[in-house]
């Protein structure tokens, strides 16, 4: 109940700040450009089929997907706790009769709301493709499932970094480091040939997304994403409790 109240306030605050609209506009611009590039690439090919269709490429097949995600995800989560700490509003929040779990849940729900809002415009691209060709509905559904899973992972870790960091900028940088670390580790599977390569491919968000985008729903990836976000979730509540001790 209080979690819902916290989430609602967070979402309202976000959308009453210009940041939300700048982020959304920039996001639509960047992803729109990437969609345009992939469409014109596909149009220039003699035969387009199988997993090389523009939607599969759009949802994680190329770096055009990851660049904006890696830049925008930290920007969306950086404010969650860091801003409340900077303005002092964390004090009335933490002294209300609400537990750490409710606060963390509320913040996380709000972050997931932003993440989902970010992907709503992409439905328009799906619609465009259906106008000029056929789509694999299953693969599109799997893509959105993958995006939801990545969202759980990215938003929860971003929230943790925002709880840890003293300012929003530091939160964004820490968050970028975490996301970047997993991303680079994932890329590592292509260069690293020794033992443990399996692990690298398991944590590779790129592998996750390109599989999902091709319509492959691998539950191991979902388990990874849910586990990682549960971990970040628990750690965030611990950070909040620890901050009471340290002051």
């Amino acid at each position: 109940m209080s979690a819902i109240a916290i989430a609602k306030r967070e979402v309202r605050a976000y959308f009453s700040s210009p940041t939300a609209y700048v982020v959304l506009l920039a996001w639509v611009y960047v992803t729109g450009l990437s969609f345009y590039l992939l469409m014109s690439f596909s149009a220039s090919q003699d035969s387009v089929g199988g997993s090389d269709n523009p939607l599969t490429l759009f949802f994680g097949g190329t770096v055009l997907f990851w660049l904006p995600v890696l830049v925008f995800a930290p920007v969306m989560t950086m404010r969650l706790f860091a801003q409340e700490r900077a303005t002092g509003t964390l004090e009335p929040l933490l002294t209300a009769p609400v537990g750490e779990w409710a606060i963390t849940t509320g913040k996380f729900l709000a972050a997931m709301f932003f993440w989902i809002a970010l992907w709503i415009p992409s439905l328009f691209y799906v619609w465009i493709v259906t106008r000029y060709g056929s789509i694999d509905a299953g693969a599109v559904a799997a893509s959105y499932l993958g995006i939801f899973g990545i969202g759980l992972f990215y938003m929860s870790w971003g929230m943790l970094m925002s709880a840890l960091a003293p300012t929003q900028i530091v939160a964004a940088i820490l968050c970028f480091l975490v996301h970047g670390l997993f991303f680079v580790a994932g890329i590592g599977q292509f260069v690293y040939q020794g033992e443990g390569r399996e692990i690298l491919s398991y944590v590779s968000v790129w592998t996750h997304m390109s599989d999902f985008a091709r319509g492959i729903v691998d539950t191991r990836y979902l388990v990874f994403q849910v586990t990682m976000s549960a971990l970040a979730f628990v750690l965030t509540t611990q950070v909040l409790a620890f901050r009471r001790l340290r002051g």
Partner: protein
Amino acid sequence: MPDRERVLGGMMVSLRGERDALTPRVLSVEHLTKRYGPRHAVDNLSFEVGEGEIVGFLGPNGAGKTTTLRMITGFLAPSSGAVQVRGIDAIAKPKEARQHIGYMPEGVPLYPEMRVYEYLRYRGELKGIPKREREDALDRALAQAGVEDAVERIIGHLSKGYRQRVGLADALLADPPLLILDEPTSGLDPNQIRGIRELIRGFAGKKTVFVSTHILPEVEATCERVVILNQGRLVGEGGIEELRASAGQEVGFVASGDRDALQEALIEAGLRDVDVFVDGEVLRGRAKGEGVVSEKVFAAAGNAGAKLRELKPGSLEEVFAGLTQVGPDWRDDKKKRRKGRATRGEQE
């Protein structure tokens, strides 16, 4: 000032005994300590607040008032010690204890983008006020805090005085028995200060209020009892009237005549801690005693053939200064008092 401390110390015990018999405790703090490394921000602090009391929490800036209030409200965990709110252990069951507290933190942090009613509605939801009671609670809190005319306004556009009132409305929202207000009048103009003070005074008998301040007149104007903190330690506790009476047992004066004769006459009159010194053309001094000290000083001056020019009973400010300053010197008091008056002027 060992004597003053002894007087207050004795009073502390007697008052506590009396209160326990009369009213149940709403807030009780026992051996509360907060350490930051080797530094003690709050050091073994114990006091109690009874139901319906308005108690001032007085101390100079940096004495540890905010740290104490944050430990009571659960924003900070103490290094050791116990806090009980209406008998609930606030450290073991913070969520439950917080349900009985309306807290207005220092500086009143609010969300600037929200409208007043949006904010209070959100806080009501957060505090678990049932939906059907929420609007009534909101109206009542708005009326009590005097912000009815600003409900539609955006918090970021409000004046500081109104923001404080919104913070107060938030503290009152769930109708808690205990209000904890941290420097509620800081940064306000004289009219706003008067408004907030009247509000607090209006809670007398209805709510238990524990209000921190570093401004003495504030306590004199609003509180029945005071807890005085200095460098994290409890240095005094007692009723305002008792404090004032104990302050009245000390008299400062300005006279002309023979220093030694005056000193002797004062001691003969049965006064203690007599101190007379030459300051240019006049004599300045002070003396303590029982009963109406000023009359005794007047009579003694006559006996010594000295002419009194000024006679000033001790003030609460001097008690406060004596308790919160390390090694206060009477000879500086004139300056201090002048400074004190200046701050009082600013605040009123």
